[in-house]
Amino acid sequence: MRKQTKVSGIPSLMDRRRFLQSTAWMSGALATSISSWAIRPSWVHAAAPIKVGIATDLTGAIAYEGTANANVAKMVVKDINNAGGILGRPIELFIVDTASDESVAVANVRRLIQRDQVDVVLGGITSSMRNAIKHVIVTHGKRLYIYPEQYEGKECTPYIFCTGPTPAQQCDQFIPWLIKNGGKRFALPSANYVWPHVLNEYARKVIENNGGEVIFEEYYPLDQIEYGATVNKIMTNSVEVVFNTIIAPGVGPFFKQLYQAGFGKRGGRLACVFFDENAFNLNAPHEIEGLASCLDYFRAVTPEDPASARIQADYDEEYPGKILFAAGSAATGMYRGLKLWELAVKEAGNLERENVAAALDHAKIREGPGGPAEMVPGKRHCKMNMYIAVAKNGNFEIVARSEGLVDPREC
């Protein structure tokens, strides 16, 4: 390997590390035309930079969510650097691709920690990705890890902070709304992995506490694309609300088959808590007309919240195209995570993990996508506003808002 042969013969450990860093920077600069891996502000040599690592899926099945993440990170870091950095030091951003493949992810995150020596890692989208990389970061690497995506909860490992919605935030108000605006007979078709299993456990409790009934709860392999049996069950059992946790690639065909069977026409309500603006690619608008989702941010929030409008406008200007700034793609959690961490480092005054963790524990930001956000002390999860929105003709319309910040009720 190119770098390896140059390394042998260099005596001192410090020299070698600096050498590796500069070769990393060179290859990063070379790669900048394709995608920036290591992004350095122009005033980097003025003070020792703070290093932030982002591990996200830039390629593979969830590439479009990962790319949104990376874009947001770049945008926020640029803003922070333009405002003078943190503690007078610029932020240097390192982005690695977890490639929707856990073993690649582990190798790349190891690189972030051991070679690039980042001070914090943000990222991971699926729970399996988070589980794969968390020990590399927190146990072996002894760094902080901020997980930005909505998930099933129950991640209480110390030094891991979650800035995406939890089941409590997504279900407590959403399900009563669904019962009022859909019906009492629920079906829970799900993808077979941890997030749907745990989310459904919570959702079932809320459904039953509100007088609803779960007609069936089924789990399908992730790559299943034929849902005739499921659709048939939904139609013949007069299900009124389909609380869906099937994900891509199955979700598009499933919704289409459901539409073709006439579910929407007879008044059925589709509900899907990960469905954001990026997911509109999956189906034609008429197939998901009336679909309800509950997230911490929708584009339709921008008229009511100037901060959200500004963030959305900034993102659209810098990253026009198909990869949208949307809450289901961990983009909002990434924004929140970075800003909360920035605040924590400023309060701590240094980058020691204990100090930053202690400060992050009670950090609050007043401006963020969807509104302000607050970490719940001792719980390492984040309070945020939640919105219920319904898909109308290819766009989301807000139909309900939470009264203030919602407690994540985790740990």
Binding site: A31, S103, Q114, R115, N131, V194, H197
Partner: protein, 333 residues
Amino acid sequence: MIPVFEIVLLVVFAAAPIILGDYLTVFVTRVFILALLALSFDLAWGYSGILSFGQALFFGAAGYGVALLARDLEIASIFMVLPAALVIGLISSFGFGALLLLGRNPPTKIFVALGTLSGSYVAERLARGWYYIGGQNGIPSIPPMTLGGYEFVEGRYYYYLAFSVLAIVYLACRFVVRSQFGLALAGAREHETRIAFFGYNTQELKLIVFSLAGGIAGLAGGLYAFHEGFVWPNILGVALSTQIVLSALLGGAGTLIGPVIGVMAIEIAGFWLADSFPKLWHIILGMLLLLVVVFSPTGLIGLVVSDRERVGSFGCPLPPRRHTDTGVDDGTT
């Protein structure tokens, strides 16, 4: 020529952690574990003509097995888990091999290839659907392997552990292929009916080798589970199986050292390419593989080593001088 390669590599690897930083040591450890898997493939294909597209099945089964041992029964001692991994690999490959390889008519190469491929595919889908073993998410947070009170975490010590296991298994394989058993295998690979007429039960021979290969794959799986700290359905699946086949053939099947080199080459190439061409490196890798398959069917090692010393090829017609009447040329001089 091959012994020269072996000695050079031995020395280089023994000394490497001193030069390499932590990060690269961990990287090379992982390469060793995959090389062990590729070695198992070579034993099956290069020496016995069993085109196993399913080595990952045994690798993953053992990986999951020891992960469950560690998670549910809290057994992480090296003296328990590594033998357990080996045994899981042996048993699963014996079972699956008996299904595929035994029977009234000897199975065709294609049948074995497709059968093992499908087996790997189905195992992966099963694992994805089975919530107890984690489903899609797999089993994370596997506690480290212990030796007495010491915990093997990734790093220099695990490097030497993996390296020793690789070296020992390698030597064992060398021993097997040069033994009487190995000669019979080579005979079966070259001309099965002829060897059958000599009185050897070729199906049993193949089953034994397939089981051995499965055992080695299982051992690699056990090492992998504790090194990475998590197992997940992909380690059972078609992608890994095929990657191993490609790496082994890229390096040069039938030489034992070839697959080791092949795995190294592909991992390093992937590592470097992914750094420089993040979005395109799969395509570049695919093109490189294609070039190798088309232009050098005997693999990388075929570039430096003569035909006599290597025995497995892709099945491309071998040059006439190999089929001499004086007996089987299997490179075990």
